[in-house]
Amino acid sequence: MFTFTAKGSVLLAALALTVGGVQSAAAADKPFAEKKIVLQISDPNPFKQTLVLNVANNLLKEYGTEGVEIEIVAFGPGLRLLFADNANKGRIQSLSTSGVEFRGCSNTKKNMAKKLGYVPVLNSIAKVEGPGVVRIVELVTDNGYTLVKP
C-alpha cells in the first residue's frame, strides 16, 4: 500500500509536471490565478491600444494581481503597441510589473521589416515567438484562457 501510494504520488507529480509543461510559463507565475484572459490587439485604430491596456488594468483591479493571468497578444497592425517608442510604453511597463504578459507576432514583425526596410525595435518586455494567432489558439484551447478582443 505504501509502495503503491508512493508510486502513485510520483506518478501524479510527474503527470502534474507534464501538464504544467504544456501550460504557459505565465501560468506558473501566478499559481493561485482563478481567471485566465488573453487580450487580442490586431486593429490599426490607435484608440484600441488605449482600450486594451484599460481592459487589462480593469481586470487586475477586479481580480487582483494574483487572481488573474493576463496576456496581451499583438499581431497585424496591432503590433505597433509593442514598438519600443510607443507612447503607451509607461503603461505597458506598469502592467508588466503587475504580471501582465505581452506577446508579439514574429510573422508580423518580419512583414513590417520588409515594409520599413529595417527590423522594428520592439519593447524589451514583449516576447516574440511564433505567430500571434497560434499563441492565442494555444492559450484558449490548451490552457483554458478566455479570449477577449476589445
Partner: protein
Amino acid sequence: MKQALKKVALAVACAGGMAATIQVEAANWLMLQGTEPSSAAGRAKVWGFLQPTYTSMKGSEVAAGPWAGNEAQFNQLPPNLSSSKGFEIRRARIGVRGQGFPLDPKVNYFFLAEFGNNGITSTGGGNGQARMDHASVTLNHIPGARVRVGLFKVPISEEMLQAIHVFDYINFTNFGFQQLLERFFDADGAKVGPAFNGPNVPNGPIGAVRDQGIQVFDTFNTGGWDTSYAVMLGNGNGINRQDNNDSLDKYIYLSTEKVYAGKGPRVQSLKLFAWSQTGEREIFLNTTSVMETFDRKRSGIGATYRKGKIRAAAEILRADGMIFAGTDGGAVVGSVAGGPPAPVVGQIAGFNVQTEEKADAYYVHFGYAVTRSLELDIRHDVMNRGTEVSSNERKFTTTTLGAQWFFNLKNRLAINYEIRSAEAPNLPSTDNANLILDEMDNRLSLQITSIF
C-alpha cells in the same frame, strides 16, 4: 464561468468609457499641434469643430468728426461690418491629421480647412471663401530638434497659440484682436481727401497668427517641469501666399510647465512662457507716395494656471514698429465723409497703420468651475496703442464676464458680456477722438462650440 465572463464584460465596458475621456496628446501646444503620439496615431484622424455665434451691440454711430452719423467700426460685427447684431458661423473647421505611414512614427502631418465667416475667409467684408488653415509636416528624426514645415500657427501669445476650441472666451482681447491678428495692407491709409481710388483695405486674409515656414522645437523633462522651445522662420505674409519681400519673420518661444494632472488641452498645470516675433513689412506711405520698409515686432511674457476648480492666466504684451490703428474717424470702412474739415469731404474711410509706433497691453483671466458642467470666467484686458506720440495714444479697456455650460466633453455653450471702453488719454474730453470712443458699446455674445 458565467460570473467571470460578466466581470470581463464589465472591465471592457469600463475601459471603453474611460478611454473616451483620456487625451493621448502631449501637454503643451507645440507638441499638441505639431506631433502625434509615437506609434499610437492613426493614418488619418478626421476631426473639426463648429462655432455658431450670436452677437449683439447697441450699434451706436460715429458721434463726431467727418464721418459723424456713419456706423462706427467698433460697434459692427466683423468681418462684414454690416450689422451690430446677428447670427454667424464664426468658425467651421474640418481637418485630418496623423501618420501617413503608421509604421514610421517619425513623420506626421496636420491639415485643417476653414469654412466659417471670419477674417480668414472674408477679410474686410469681402466675399467668403474657404481657405486652408493648416498644412504642415513634422519630421521627428533628430532628438531634441523636431522640424515642422508648412503652414501652421506660429509660437506666440498663449491666447492665440492655444487651440481655439478650448478658448474660454468668445472674443479675443483688444491686443490680440488688433495687434496679433495681422491685417496686410498695401498702404498705411494716411491719405486725406478723396484723391485715392477706394479705401485702404487688407490685401488678403487676416494673418490669424499663421505663417508658412520652418520651425524647430521640442519638449524636455527638466526636474519635473516640461520645458519647451521653438524657433521659427516664416514668410510673415499670412496664410497660403508667398513672401512679398526678402525678409523672413523670426519667432522665438520658450515655456516651462509643471504638470499636476491630466494631459491634453485642459491639462492641470502651471506654465510660464515668453515669446517674440520680429519681421519687416513693406508699405506704401500715402503722405510721401513712396514704398518703405518698417519693423514689425511683437513680444510677450505670461503664465497660466489650472488646477482643480481654478483657472487663471496673465500676460504682458508689447508691439513695436508697425501697429494696427483702426479706421478713419472710427467709421466703417467704405463710409464717405461728409466733412468738415474741407479736405476730408468725400474721403472714403479705410484702415490705418502706424508705421513707427508702439503699443503695450496686459490681460488677467480667472475662471472657476462651479460644477462639472458650469464654469464662470472673468477677464480684464487693457491696451495702450500709439504710445510714442501722445496724440496717437488710445487706451482700450475691456472687462469680460463669461459663463460656460458644458453639455458634455465636446459640446458647450459660452455666454460673454464685454464691458468695453476706450479713450484718447492725452486729448481733451471734448476732442473728436474722445467723443467717438465714448460711443463704444458693450457687447453680448453667445456661442456654441461643437467638437467632432
